[in-house]
Amino acid sequence: MSVTDLHTEKSYLTDGFTLRSWLLTTDHKRIALLYLGSITLFFFVGGLAAALIRYNLIVPEGMIGSAETYNKLFTMHGVVMVWFFLIPAIPVTLGNFLVPLMLGARDLAFPRLNLASWYLFVLAGIVALYSVVAGGVDTGWTFYTPLTSAYSKGHVVATVVAIFIAGFSSIATGLNFIITIHQLRAPGMTWYKMPVFLWSLYATSVILVLATPVLAMTLLLLAFERIFHIGVFDPAIGGDPLLFQHLFWFYSHPAVYVMILPGFGVISEIVPAFSSKTLFGYKFVVWASISIAVISFLVWGHHMFVAGTSLYSALVFSILSFMVAVPSAIKVFNWIGTMHNGFIRFDAPMLYAIGFIGLFTMGGLTGLFVAALAADVHLTQTYFVVAHFHYVMVGGMVSAFFAGLHFWWPKITGRLYPEMWGRAGAVIMFLGFNLTFFPQFLLGYLGMPRRYHSYPPEFQVLNVLSSAGATVLAVGYLLPLAYLTWSLLYGKRASANPWNATGLEWKTQSPPLTENFISTPVVTDPPYHYPRPEVAQHHD
């Protein structure tokens, strides 16, 4: 029956049912769904690798016999998760879907480029999976030379090519977003009337466009060195292996903010909506996003405090790293300030959002440990670092992704997900995550190095704890997959604005028409213009 509804009601989903109408579409909403499918696939591929990693570490000598297999596993986990899930996830799915809707535009500035970027992404994914099938890589996702350029037996070049292509897909997306935000704002949609989600995507795109090409060239230099057995990183001829690390982190540190900034945006939409209160300190949040994008380019050296760089650069990069934490702190306080005096509802998106604030705060604070030089010397390259960036990326970014997915699910699919299941998923994910990764902070302090296939027995207890937590976390991830899929067919039909949220995307029907709006909207209200709760009561 529900399927027939889909056919009857006019929306971007019912605008053509042929495979062609999907694979050759230039509709940003359909491309978002194409992307959603691809990144979900990669998320579970990377997740499988993670599961095997945790499985291996249950016993000190390693459950998986061969160290080589283990090294290939965590390399695959890193490469797939970083370039094929974390970096694209929010921008290419929620971003693609919402940027034009929130701006009151009919599509992105360059729809065909948008489709092309998806095909590039798929191509990159195929090459990456090929390199795995062909035998994999064992160099870690950081590809440090000379291990990668001369010693590794793995399929380095294939993997590098995959990342290279994926990079251009990101550049295309970022470029598209920036131009769209500059050019296609609806009448009355001034810069300071834009939702913070758009601001954070703008900041993200700046990083994508200006950092990714650096990675591209770095990988070219690496491939050249591996193919011709000579290159600028080769210490044997006076090249400098640290140059590779500088270049790699010039991209990869800002890339961390590519992962988390869109999350900030999502949370900045959800917290006001479920506190039915305007965002606290809008301009501060906006400029915090922009300054994060800029400062994130000035801190890469903190990945190299024990790598043999000069003392001076270590000092400079250390203080800059502390600076980048300030705008993040500002955001956290502003979200809490938003909750103050609000009318807080605890639907699943809000639960995910609160989980995000907690986990991200922990991730951010442990970042201070590794920014403080002397502490970093002890903690870097250990499980402390692993725990730290998983708190930011998985605890932070993935929670935000699920928060946003639940928040806009009714808009995207026209269906409501089962609320109770949603809340259960949020809670299980939060608990499972902490069970998995908190023990790793202790492991790190005690000195357990990362990327170890086997370890001294005294580390076993904490490792078993972590692996046990991982199973809970796995349930937390499989649950939404199940009930969200279920809701596609049997979920209740969603109204245009099920959350009483502000923002243009809620002013059009769910799911939206192919052309988004019947007539181009005109913006008059400031952002997050939530009526005082008394009024809000009447809405329900």
Partner: protein, 214 residues
């Protein structure tokens, strides 16, 4: 693109709006390109910093004359194309085509000189880094680093030139569609063409000049 009207796609309010977007987009892409070449320049700084004599010795092996001639060729090609843009702006399509053809020929000439002549000499002189590298003695390593930079830099620039030639050719083919009212592709390709020129303007001293001299 079904709703796309003659002059502009449906998401834009008018043709000018779309033109501005396209031009801004190209500029942003070029900014990205600058960062693409950035690491190459940083590699130049590192390699020369650690191995100055050898690196400069490598630079002395390059062919200053061909390099300089090529630079002039490229500058002129860029001028020709920009003139073409000015002409179509003024509605003179015939001149546009002539300018584009000149620009195209000059660009092709650059590639012939660079890869047909200069690279051939370099290879025959055994300057490609590796076991058979010609320069021996204490300066060998630095010189090899220089030629890693040289070959990678010129190859990537050449690749950009090649793409540029295809684009300019495409403009020539489509020339009859353009008018003072609509010539966005001409301007956009022009931006790219001049940018490739710019890259060479920076590469030229890094390859031929800085290392040379007494």
């Amino acid at each position: 693109m079904t709703e796309a009207s003659l002059t502009h796609d449906f998401q834009y309010s008018n043709a000018r709006h779309q033109a501005e977007s396209a031009i801004s987009g190209m500029w942003l892409f070029l900014a990205s390109e600058v960062l693409f070449f950035g690491p190459l320049f940083l590699a130049w700084i590192y390699s020369r910093h650690w191995n100055q004599s050898g690196f400069d010795e490598g630079a002395r092996q390059t062919d200053l004359m061909l390099g300089t001639v090529n630079t002039v060729i490229l500058l002129t090609s860029s001028l020709a194309y920009s003139a073409g843009v000015a002409f179509i702006e003024a509605g003179n399509r015939r001149r546009l085509i002539q300018c584009c053809v000149i620009a195209w020929l000059l660009g092709a000439a650059f590639l012939v000189v660079k890869f047909g002549i200069e690279w051939r000499h370099d290879f025959s002189k055994g300057l490609f880094p590796g076991p058979e590298f010609a320069i021996v003695g204490p300066l060998r390593d630095g010189a090899q680093l220089f030629f890693v930079f040289y070959f990678l830099g010129t190859a990537l620039h050449g690749l950009h030139m090649f793409v540029g030639l295809i684009l300019v050719g495409w403009i020539i083919v489509r020339a009859r569609e353009f008018s003072p009212g609509y010539y966005t592709p001409v301007s956009v390709v022009g931006l790219y063409w001049s940018f490739v020129d710019m890259v060479w303007i920076i590469l030229y001293p890094l390859i031929y000049l800085v290392g040379r001299g007494p």
